[in-house]
């Protein structure tokens, strides 16, 4: 599965989708879900929590391991995907549909400055070596 070109990415393997209402949806990438394997638990941040860029704010746990999820930019959590509570395996099935939480970014420009799909792929490739 290739990384969708309409999304932004971080070096810590989050994807970011800009929504029509100015919020952003955040999930973990194909590379991240593949490395972790079968997901069994997701802990999303509380709605209303203010986050700094790169702040630890959520956790995904597979059978094998726990991994932190980081805020891609500064902003406020405005929604979480409660469906993942009972179906964390949705992240394995389609990581780019299984958003974990939504934020209202403090600055839209911060989102625009994130990596595009090609830059993210270069990060993944460099980790493989």
């Amino acid at each position: 599965m290739s990384n969708p070109s309409n999304l932004k990415y971080t070096a810590s393997h989050e994807w970011i989708r800009s929504e029509a209402d100015g919020t952003i949806s955040i999930g973990i990438t194909q590379h991240a879900q593949e490395a972790l394997g079968d997901m069994v638990f997701v802990e999303a941040p509380a709605v209303g929590r203010k986050l700094k860029a790169k702040e630890e704010c959520a956790v995904v746990e597979s059978v094998k391991a726990a991994a932190d999820v980081y805020a891609p930019v500064a902003g406020e959590v405005v929604a979480v995907n409660g469906e993942l509570d009972n179906a964390p395996e949705a992240i394995n099935a389609d990581p780019y549909a299984a958003w974990m939480f939504r934020m209202k970014p403090d600055n839209a420009a911060d989102v625009a400055a994130l990596m595009d799909a090609a830059a993210y792929q270069a990060v993944v490739d460099s980790e493989a070596h």
Binding site: G37, D38, F41, E43, E61, V63, K64
Partner: protein
């Protein structure tokens, strides 16, 4: 450092395995979904490459006497040829050097199977003790052997389908008993809580057997599922649930330590002088989350620690083994520190699952 490879390394890669560094060995952690692999073993059967484990043959006159001294469990329980015994090998201070399986073949041949990561130190210890107590014995390890575990309710039938010549010798095997079938040494043992065989064979034949089993419908299973299967079955993992700094009596292994007979063995005096203050219990997480090794367990009687924790695919809950103060009781609720939270867990008697069924 170059990772060590088993004879099946290329086969695992060709079958799509995700490979990881497992104690210096390049091993398959899963081939696809680890949870599917787990269920495959509980419900049907699967095969594991456990060639990293080491076979050690001890031969010569007096081998039984030597093992009576070397091992915490009593090899006098082994009277039938092929019968196996699970035992710890202890330091003088009672710490666990390794856990192993000893097969009684003849009065001049016992076969021992030890863990991969501890094999070299185990053999060095055995040889050191033999120099003192039984210099006539030959202690020879067989890193050239491969080992394939076929586990699950249909495992034995699949092995007989693939190796029909071995059926006559292995059909009557009881649990924890082995038969020497020439090129194949077949034991009705395992590390999953399911029925099945562990097959030791020359490395050069491993690929042929693996492919034949695959053709018969036996799915390859990675070390990831092996860990959740053994945890559900309540089987200790050396290095996590016990090690050289902890007594087997505080590791849920008192049933394997023979303190009742007059027999002396290495570590016995230390165990008698230091009654256990802690014990190993099972935990089932009541809140949402996943129990992991090294998380702190807060009990009414003090603090303990999780030694192994994961998600149980059979129970669909998180489970763990934890070393806690000895006064903790089955049925107690304890608090486990997970990141910035304290989550409730119930103390249970393990195993959590065996023979295809959850027991909690």
């Amino acid at each position: 450092m170059t990772l060590k490879q088993t004879p099946l390394n290329a086969t695992h890669r060709a079958m799509g395995a995700k490979m990881v560094d497992f104690g210096g060995w390049d091993m398959p952690v899963n081939y696809g979904s680890q949870i599917d692999e787990h269920h495959q073993v509980r419900n049907d059967c699967g095969m594991f490459d456990v060639s990293h484990m080491r076979v050690v043959d001890i031969k010569g006159k007096g081998v039984r006497d030597f093992l009576r001294h070397l091992l915490a469990n009593n090899v006098d329980k082994l009277t039938l040829p092929g019968k196996a015994l699970y035992s710890c090998m202890l330091l003088e201070n009672g710490g666990v050097i390794d856990d192993l399986i000893a097969y009684f073949m003849t009065e001049e041949w016992f076969r021992i199977v030890v863990n991969a990561g501890t094999a070299d130190k185990d053999i060095a210890w055995m040889k050191k003790q033999a120099v003192i107590h039984a210099p006539q014995l030959e202690i020879k390890d067989h890193p050239e052997f491969a080992m394939i575990a076929v586990q699950g309710p249909n495992a034995r039938a699949k092995v007989w389908q693939v190796l029909p010549d071995t059926k006559a010798k292995t059909e009557a095997l009881q649990a924890f008993q082995a038969a020497d079938c020439g090129a194949h040494f077949i034991a009705r043992t395992g590390y999953t809580g399911e029925d099945g065989f562990e097959i030791m064979l020359p490395a050069a034949q491993a690929e042929t057997l693996w492919h034949a089993l695959a053709k018969a419908g036996v799915k390859p299973i990675g070390l990831g599922a092996r860990d959740t299967l053994r945890l559900e079955a309540g089987m200790n993992l050396y290095g996590q649930d016990m090690n050289e700094s902890v007594s087997p009596l505080e590791s849920g292994l008192a049933w394997t330590v023979d303190l009742n007979s007059a027999r002396d063995f290495i570590g016995k005096a230390a165990l008698l002088a230091n009654p256990p203050k802690r014990k190993l219990v099972g935990l089932v997480l009541l809140d949402r989350g996943v129990l992991r090794g090294h998380q702190e367990v807060h009990c009414a009687h003090g603090t303990g620690e999780i030694t192994s924790g994961s998600f149980s695919p059979t129970l669909e809950k998180s489970i763990a083994l934890a070393r806690v103060p000895k006064d903790v009781q089955i049925g107690d609720t304890v608090q486990v520190a997970i990141r910035d939270k304290m989550l409730a867990a119930k103390v249970v008697k393990y195993p959590f699952a065996r023979n295809g069924k959850g027991l909690i």
